[in-house]
């Protein structure tokens, strides 16, 4: 049974989500990956405002393919989150709470998630055509010169996700594997 979640991701909602929960996410999310995160964190270091309001924001680590005529966006599955580990604690420190990606995170990121009630959602890596179906609008916000890596605002409806790491630091990558291996004993 999936949990239906409507954004923004407040601390209250974040705390109800547990590792392994299947979630259908609706609302506004922002796209950013390697180069975009670098720019945002550099802007914060200079004391500048971000192009987005980070408070309770959810960031999708994605670089979509170009939209075909008549479509909102191209294929849009998650990229490997670990490359954003260097920036994620900074983003959480200014209020960003949700992260959508795939793959393992460093302990520093999990510590920041516990401190700021962050949630790390997994979208299915390699399912870009399917995930594009739940993206209903896409708007360029900043960093257009980065092409696929530009900062975009997306409106998603019932985006199918799984909670990988919750705000208490529970991790589906560890729990799911352990559960499977125990079931085979």
């Amino acid at each position: 049974m999936e949990k239906k979640i409507t954004l923004p991701l407040t601390e209250e909602i974040a705390k109800t989500l547990k590792a392994g929960d299947r979630v259908l996410l609706t609302g506004i999310i922002y796209t950013s990956r390697d180069a975009g995160h670098k720019r945002m964190c550099e802007a914060l270091a200079r004391g500048e405002e971000l192009p987005i309001d980070p408070m309770n924001a959810t960031i999708y680590y994605v670089g979509p393919t170009p939209a075909k005529p008549g479509t909102v966006i191209g294929s849009a599955g998650p990229t490997t989150s670990g490359r954003m580990d260097a920036y994620a604690p900074t983003m959480m420190s200014v209020g960003a709470r949700g992260m959508i990606g795939k793959g393992a995170r460093l302990p520093e990121v999990v510590d920041a998630m516990k401190k700021y009630s962050g949630v790390y959602f997994g979208a299915i890596g390699g399912a870009g055509a399917l995930l594009a179906k739940c993206i209903k609008s896409a708007k360029l916000i900043a960093y257009e010169d980065l092409g696929a890596e530009a900062l975009r605002e997306l409106y998603v409806e019932d985006m199918p996700l799984v909670v990988i790491i919750d705000s208490e630091g529970n991790n589906l990558y560890e729990l799911g594997r352990e559960e499977y291996l125990n079931s085979k004993k």
Binding site: T65, G74, K102, G126, K133, A148, G176, R177, Y180
Partner: protein
């Protein structure tokens, strides 16, 4: 002697770039579907169902299976009785990639310098490999390679005393370290022997071989089966959420090597293991 124009090479590469990115090969689909039948966990089943639905959407709508449409790895097996006429061969290959990635609405993901970065804007240059073979045809293979999985690949120069067990441990260690990062279920390409560079190329070529095929040498065919089974006992499962299906295929390619060494390269691919070929 047969003349083949670089225009034909260019146009074929353009077409193969689009086909490879939008249509998953039959052997990969078959493997995913048969693994789906063996999974008992709800999350694992759900992931595989979504992966199957995803490649069906890509097939029906001619859209990229994955947004990481990769670096265009192009393999040309050129018959020795072929005379290539027209422009510079590498330019023709890159023009094919440029046109394919533009017309197919594929992502332009190549940067012009590994340290200083900067997107080239057209997904060129291709990673081009040429080989001279008997005959008067050219076999063109395009295998777009995403980096979620490429980044989890590894190479090691073993001492011969490490033996078979050293290779087995290295395969398991590499897959275990990759964990959820390369979008499992993965395909594992193993290259053993040759030199440092040849081992890596063998591993890449192993990923171009259909996963329902086996190494013609029964010793390595058995090793392929054994290692696939061992990997699927790790419990990493689809997307790393736990389950039986950690890998859907493992291919091994080998070459003779020197008395002093035993190079082994492991190239990891995701479930979107793409390659399309055409003979011209």
């Amino acid at each position: 002697m047969r003349e083949i124009s670089t225009d034909i090479i260019r146009d074929t590469i353009e077409k193969l770039c689009i086909e490879a990115n939008c249509h998953l090969p039959g052997d990969v689909k078959c493997a995913i579907e048969s693994c789906r039948k063996c999974e008992d966990g709800l999350i694992a089943q759900g992931v595989l169902d979504d992966i199957i639905e995803n490649y069906k959407i890509a097939d029906n709508e001619n859209v990229p299976i994955c947004q990481d449409t990769g670096m265009a790895c192009v393999f040309l097996e050129i018959g020795q009785d072929v005379h290539i006429v027209g422009e510079n061969l590498a330019d023709a290959v890159n023009e094919g990639v440029r046109r394919g990635y533009d017309k197919g609405y594929l992502r332009k993901s190549v940067v012009k310098d590994p340290i200083r970065r900067g997107n080239t804007g057209d997904n060129t240059p291709a990673m081009l490999y040429t080989e001279i073979v008997p005959g008067e045809n050219i076999k063109i293979t395009v295998g777009p390679k995403g980096f979620g999985s490429e980044n989890m690949s590894a190479i090691r120069m073993f001492k011969p005393s490490a033996g078979l067990q050293g290779i087995k441990d290295f395969i398991i260690e590499t897959v275990e370290t990759a964990g959820p990062n390369p979008c499992p279920p993965m395909v594992v390409g193993v290259g053993i022997g040759g030199t440092f560079d040849k081992a890596a190329l063998l591993a890449k070529k192993a990923l171009m071989r259909p996963i329902d095929s086996e190494n013609p040498d029964p010793y390595y065919a058995d090793l392929e089966k054994e290692m696939l089974e061992k990997i699927n006992e790790l419990g990493i499962g689809p997307q790393g959420f736990g389950g039986k299906t950690t890998a859907i295929g493992l291919n091994i390619e080998t070459l003779p090597t020197l008395i002093a060494g035993m190079p082994c390269a492991i190239n990891i691919n995701c479930h979107v293991t793409r390659h399309q070929s055409e003979v011209i």
